[in-house]
């Protein structure tokens, strides 16, 4: 009963005209960046982070959330029609989605992707409503040791799932922690690694780092080769899947939704992992696995549902524990902090309007996306024809402006350009930026919790093992760190390792 009252309260907040407008802007921009290759949800969210300052916290966060799950919808359009994933979570949709389009079945592929996404998004929201308050009440009992160990687990999971060698990913995570510690020490107020520059006293901003590593570096990589687009030119019809298509997709949508939701909750996981895992599961369960890769609708329905369910599930650790499970959620945490809010176990009780308003707006956003994606598919296809040589200077200009506007400081533009160049060379040498960014956000929190738990336990390191939740997290982290040393597990890791960069 309480949940229903809270949901009604949430809809009251989400249906305010201003919040509806922000929700629409969010899902529209999300679809747009999902459709356009070369700019993903991370770049778009960091670009629009300063815009959230102008409205209420609800409006800003509703818009940011809209960009995230909107990009999951939009990403499938480019994957199916152009064979270029609009964002990383849609990589796997290219395999069968584009084959379906080549066989003249672009309509059903786009249709099932939108319906699957809608069903998964709805399920994830209902589960979020039921799970989050319960987890938040448990999380109140968490101490600094539990928080520290959870963050360590999150970072280790992400490094485990990152493409390339594990030492490289771990090195990136360590560099992220160090970058996050630049500025005044929160306990002793001693400046660290500031090199005498006043601009670094408050540390390096998240926006220039993310925009540099993901926005500018991505453009630099894309300019290396002329992007050729194989756009399906035939008219897209029959967006409503046939009875056979629906029958074939029901199982993959259901399994993808549940799998995606749980993988989304896991720290370090997220939409990308979920979509790959769902594809692998469907291929394994299929009686005709040889159809996969040649236009099997199950290969579109499962991953597309999984990535949307994961996008919803990822809100749980952020909202209940205050720990972002991936880079996108780290940016959302930035939006909370900008408004002086701290997501965590007390958010739901102290700010029910905000929490339930965001949840309700996500449901409204899912409905908006269904309307935006199916009848307006022609418009998105037209947009795909915008040549990259015109698009990339615009992306560069928008990133410069986005970074400048976030702090009104030219120094941040220099930081972004520097990180753009560093990010380019990192990617060329096989170092993924995702662990660095997550560690950059978690680093100061990890340090704080580590030092607090050591002070509280009077230097007793056993405190991390004596507390059951902390011990379980550290044990999992240890297993994942050792896993790549075993050849069988190393092969498994290579199969699921992902490029989170896009």
């Amino acid at each position: 009963m309480d949940t229903l009252v809270n949901v009604a309260h949430g809809f009251g907040v989400a249906l305010l005209p201003i919040n509806l407008l922000y929700c629409f802007i969010g899902v529209f921009i999300g679809t747009l960046v999902g459709v356009l290759p070369g700019i993903g949800p991370i770049s778009a969210m960091s670009l629009l982070l300063p815009v959230t300052l102008s409205g209420t916290p609800e409006s800003g966060i509703i818009m940011m959330a809209g960009i995230y799950y909107g990009s999951m919808y939009g990403g499938s359009t480019t994957s199916i029609l152009v064979n270029i994933p609009g964002e990383a979570a849609s990589v796997v949709t290219c395999i069968d989605g584009h084959q379906m389009a080549k066989q003249g079945r672009a309509g059903p592929a786009l249709g099932i992707s939108a319906f699957g996404s809608f069903i998964a998004g709805t399920f994830a929201l209902i589960a979020l409503m039921l799970v989050a308050p319960k987890l938040a009440s448990v999380a109140i009992a968490f101490g600094p040791a539990e928080y520290f160990s959870l963050m360590v687990l999150g970072l280790v999971v992400l490094t485990f799932l990152t493409q390339g060698s594990m030492p490289k990913a771990l090195l990136m995570a360590c560099i992220g922690v160090v970058l996050g510690l630049i500025g005044l020490d929160s306990i002793t107020a001693q400046p660290r690694l500031t090199f005498g520059r006043m601009e670094l006293i408050d540390g390096i901003g998240l926006v220039p780092v993310v925009m540099g590593l993901f926005g500018v570096a991505e453009v630099l990589l894309n300019t290396e080769q002329a992007i050729k687009r194989d756009i399906i030119n035939t008219k897209i019809t029959h967006l409503l899947p046939s009875k056979e298509d629906l029958k074939a997709s029901a199982g993959p949508v259901g399994r993808g939704t549940i799998l995606g939701f749980f993988l989304g909750i896991l720290p370090g996981g997220g939409a990308v992992v979920a979509s790959f895992a769902s594809y692998a599961l469907e291929k394994r369960l299929s009686k005709t696995p040889e159809r996969f890769g040649h236009g099997a609708i199950e290969g579109v329905a499962g991953p597309e549902s999984a990535n949307n369910a994961a996008a919803g599930g990822a809100f749980i650790p952020l909202m209940t524990l205050g720990i972002p499970p991936n880079v996108v959620m780290a940016l959302l945490l930035g939006a909370f902090v900008i408004h002086g809010l701290q997501p965590g176990p007390l958010l739901i009780t102290q700010n029910p309007g905000l929490f339930w308003g965001i949840v309700a707006s996500m449901y409204i956003g899912n409905v908006m996306l269904l309307v935006l994606n199916l009848p307006m598919i022609g418009m998105w296809v037209q947009l795909l024809k915008l040549p990259y040589n015109i698009l990339f200077p615009l992306i560069i200009l928008f990133t410069i402006l986005g970074v400048y506007c976030s702090s009104n400081n030219v120094f941040d533009v220099y930081v972004m350009i520097a990180f753009g160049i560093i990010g380019y060379f990192m990617r060329k040498l096989g170092y993924e930026p995702a662990p660095l960014v997550l560690a950059f956000v978690l680093g100061p929190m990890m340090e704080n919790n580590l030092r607090k738990s050591l002070i509280l336990s009077q230097g007793d390191l056993w405190t991390f093992v004596q507390r059951p939740i902390s011990a379980v997290c550290l044990a999992f982290a240890m297993v994942l760190l050792i896993a790549p040393l075993l050849p069988a597990l190393r092969k498994k890791r290579e199969l699921v390792a992902l490029d989170e960069g896009a």
């Binding site: 360590c174 990259y388 615009l394 560069i396 410069i400 506007c405 350009i417 170092y431 030092r451 050591l454």
Partner: protein, 161 residues
């Protein structure tokens, strides 16, 4: 990978260079941590986490170096093989020039040439399209930010923008 692109103990081994840079950074972080004071385990100081993170960095960088020597790695040149390496280089040069010019020239006078250079140098767009885009987009953005959102953009020594 052929013999020319997979090398072991050679200076052209890109994996080796990645590890060496990581090791140098780790060493610097350890030194910074020591300089900031480690404190005690009961009361960790400002350099405590930095010091141990630096040690971890050295361990991971060391493991990258060992695997570069034992298993080999692609050469630096092979990382840029079959790609238009001059294009990102040009883009980097444009961005560096822009960052130097931004404060003295202001937003408009630095972003219009930047846009024009990007539109013409990388994958050339015809002049009749490049000029209007390079002029109108920064001016439009400037107008929205400065007039509508009242965000102060750098106006430079000439006070334009």
């Amino acid at each position: 990978m052929n013999d020319q692109t997979n090398v072991k103990l050679r200076l052209s081994n890109s994996e080796l260079w990645g590890g060496v840079i990581g090791l140098a950074l780790g060493g610097f972080v350890i030194w910074s941590g020591l300089k900031l004071k480690l404190g005690t385990i009961n009361d960790p100081g400002s350099g405590y986490v930095l010091f141990y993170t630096g040690i971890l960095m050295c361990v991971f960088a060391g493991s990258i170096i060992v695997s570069a020597i034992t298993e080999g790695g692609p050469t630096l040149a092979s990382r840029w093989e079959n790609v238009r390496w001059s294009k990102p280089l040009l883009l980097i040069a444009c961005l560096v020039a822009f960052s130097v010019a931004l404060e003295p020239l202001g937003f408009l006078l630095s972003s219009i040439p930047l846009m024009l250079l990007l539109l013409r140098l990388i994958d050339p767009v015809r002049w009749t399209l490049a000029i209007p885009v390079a002029v109108l987009v920064p001016m439009g953005m400037w107008w929205v930010l400065k007039r509508l959102l009242l965000i102060q953009l750098p106006s430079g020594l000439f006070g334009i923008g």
